[in-house]
Amino acid sequence: MSKQAAWEAVGLTEEEYERCRRLLGREPNHLELGMFGLMWSEHCSYKTSKVHLRKLPTAGPRVLQGPGENAGVIDLGEDLALVFKIESHNHPSAIEPFQGAATGVGGILRDVFAMGAYPIAILDSLRFGEPDGRSRYLLGGVVAGIGWYGNCFGCPTVGGEVYFEPAYAGNPLVNAMCLGLVRHEEIIRGRAEGPGNPVLLVGAPTGRDGIHGASLLASREFDEQAEERRPSVQVGDPFRGKLLLEACLEARATGLLVGVNDLGAAGLASACSETASRAGTGMEIDLDRVSRREPGMSAYEVMLSESQERMLLVVKPGGEDVVAGIFARWGLEAAVIGRVTSDGIIRVREAGKVVAEVPARALTGEAPTYMRPEHEPAYLTATRSFAPERLPDLEPAESGRILRQLLAAGNLSSREWIWRQYDHLVGANTVLRPGSDAAVLRVKGRPLGIAVSVDGNGRYCYLDPRQGGALAVAEAARNVAVSGARPVALTNCLNFGNPERPEIMWQFREVVEGMAEACQVLGTPVTGGNVSFYNETLGENIYPTPVVGMVGLLEDIALATAQGFRAAGDHIVLLGLTGNDLGGSEYLKLVHGVVGGLPPHLDLEEERRVQELCLEAIGAGLIRSAHDCSDGGLAVALLESAFTAAPGAHGFEVDLACVPARKAVLRRDCLLFGETPSRIVLTVRPQHLEALLKLARRHRVAASRLGEVRQARVTMRHGDDFWVDEPTAELEAVWRGALACTAEGTA
């Protein structure tokens, strides 16, 4: 094979090849080149995103660990800390939805317990094409796969989000987030400290799973062994994942663990070089000691295998037998495969011979970084110039019909079909279950509560990436705030198309800058995240899709507030101003068939004040229910609050003429379905209405009583004009059943 073919086969460019030759001072051999290829891949090195990710604020009083480790960590007070991280598994899920999604969950769980934390919750953020044909198959497989791993592992899946858009038809997105609890002194980092310390590989034996060999194979002569060399799809084993958790935490309790890293992309090559380079050390590895699932594996395959349910442990000298004994008791393999060295080199031996010898830093820190060219995409001229205000307004007589159409839409109907397949209760901490804006978990033995939500509207980002990025942060924070928790920090997953296209790079930078600004204003630093590029099929790119996983804290778990109405007679209050915001809305897409205009305008200062007000009102015990207005607008938000309680029990009557307006004249469609952000629907007991309105004035937030909670009937009127007047049960049936019908093909 020519040299050129060799670097191309591992995905390197000629310049990159030259760079690794310079770093080595010689030609890399086949294995070394493979290690460089994977470690310098976009996925592992962040070579394209790095320069922009630096713009995200990462510091804050609660941040104990920012980006750069297996997961971020924030302080929960006293000696407790919260570990959390989000990650994508888009490409594997597109090929094999069940296993792809399952191994995505397995991977994020390992990231969290590698830090020494006990996982307490999973969330999933999903994007598919319109749910028919292959997209329906992907939806079913992905949801079943997430459920399988989380349910079997015993970590509750407490929330998530899902959108259906044609832009994701070729490229579904599967992002999984995990949170875990740990005591400060028990936090372990992925650092190979202490030359001489033994290095153990524990968990599953190593097989030929997911080796990045497809491209390699394609450029090699085809011989009779070709079939055997072909990488296979990674298959998860949640059972073994759970054993690995138990054994790792038991090993941690012995105090013998120095560093821990999970094995994910690029397998051993990555785990060894990352742990060594974080600690400024090196590592010697003997491949003959790696336990294997199949005979005849090459050094290349062993080093780069992505077999699941494995961990790399660095152990105190002499601790290896005790640690291995713990793993044996849990039925897991544990082998000393090498030791930490002081020379900064990753040295790999096989059958006594050195088969690779590479400075750890060369694989990690010395990876190239790029400032790729960028260019504003041409489509924006068209989408921006679309003026929704020129569309005919909604006829009141049509409201009922349109409302049903929205309630049945893939992006607005109940997600119960999904989260019922997830054990959201195991762990006995779930105080607010899926179906409210954020999930809330208690912390046993403390008054404390943790709220968490994942959000990101790709359509907004498509229409205005900067604004869309800020909106994603704002919505995630708002979802946490309406649940009674103060947003404190976030993790994010940036899903984009091919960064070698200047248009995609432009979207990426804009989104990141928009997010950064929102993080600054809302005071929520970023503790980590993940970038997934190349979400492109046949030249079709996905919408730029940042997914924000926001974490919030409640001083007192008793303040946890759900979105569902509580009792007839409670007053309904809307916080925030409503504008003529139709751009990028579900309504515009569903009713007028247009993805266009500009996403709704976000005033970050106003957003902050609205959230502050909501938190203070909840803290003062004034609030019975709280729900943010997002997709589908005010009408859908009100209905969701009516639906969440006992089926069909609640209804409401509101006068939309009372909605505080940004403009003198509000369109009817905007009143009902416009998606102006920074708005929250609250309910209060009648005797608390005045106190709430007074508080709102103090926070300089527009607030107005719209009506009250009733029984069994939904009435939306504008003065004396009745727009919608129907039994709750009928609308609720539409909303509750729609996703199940589409997903199971019974529609």
């Binding site: 094999e96 296993q99 296979s232 298959v235 084993d237 699932r293 699941q308």
Partner: protein, 92 residues
């Protein structure tokens, strides 16, 4: 005409079979020594109508490709028999 088919669906070679591995170690701890490998797959038995053998075989192959096996991780094989008409639960 009624046809009865038996389809065996297996994981491809090299694809991890956690179920098989767990079963193997369970057999071992039950005292069955010397069990070297266990792989667990699916058995699907079908009874269906088709005018003749060619047509039956064609449909069966399509059913396997489209639904019964997942081509990304599984392979299948089948056997096809002319069934006894009206034999009800003949499959079990």
């Amino acid at each position: 005409m009624r046809w009865e088919a038996r389809v065996l669906v297996r994981l491809k070679a090299g694809v991890l079979d956690p179920q098989g591995a767990a079963t193997r170690s369970a057999l071992e701890s039950l005292g069955f020594s010397g069990v070297e490998e266990v792989r667990v797959g699916k058995l699907v038995e079908l009874a269906f109508q088709a005018p003749n053998r060619e047509e039956a075989e064609l449909r069966l192959a399509q059913m396997c490709h489209k639904l019964l096996a997942n081509p990304v991780i599984e392979v299948f094989e089948y056997a096809l028999d002319a069934g006894r008409e009206g034999s009800g639960c003949g499959l079990a």
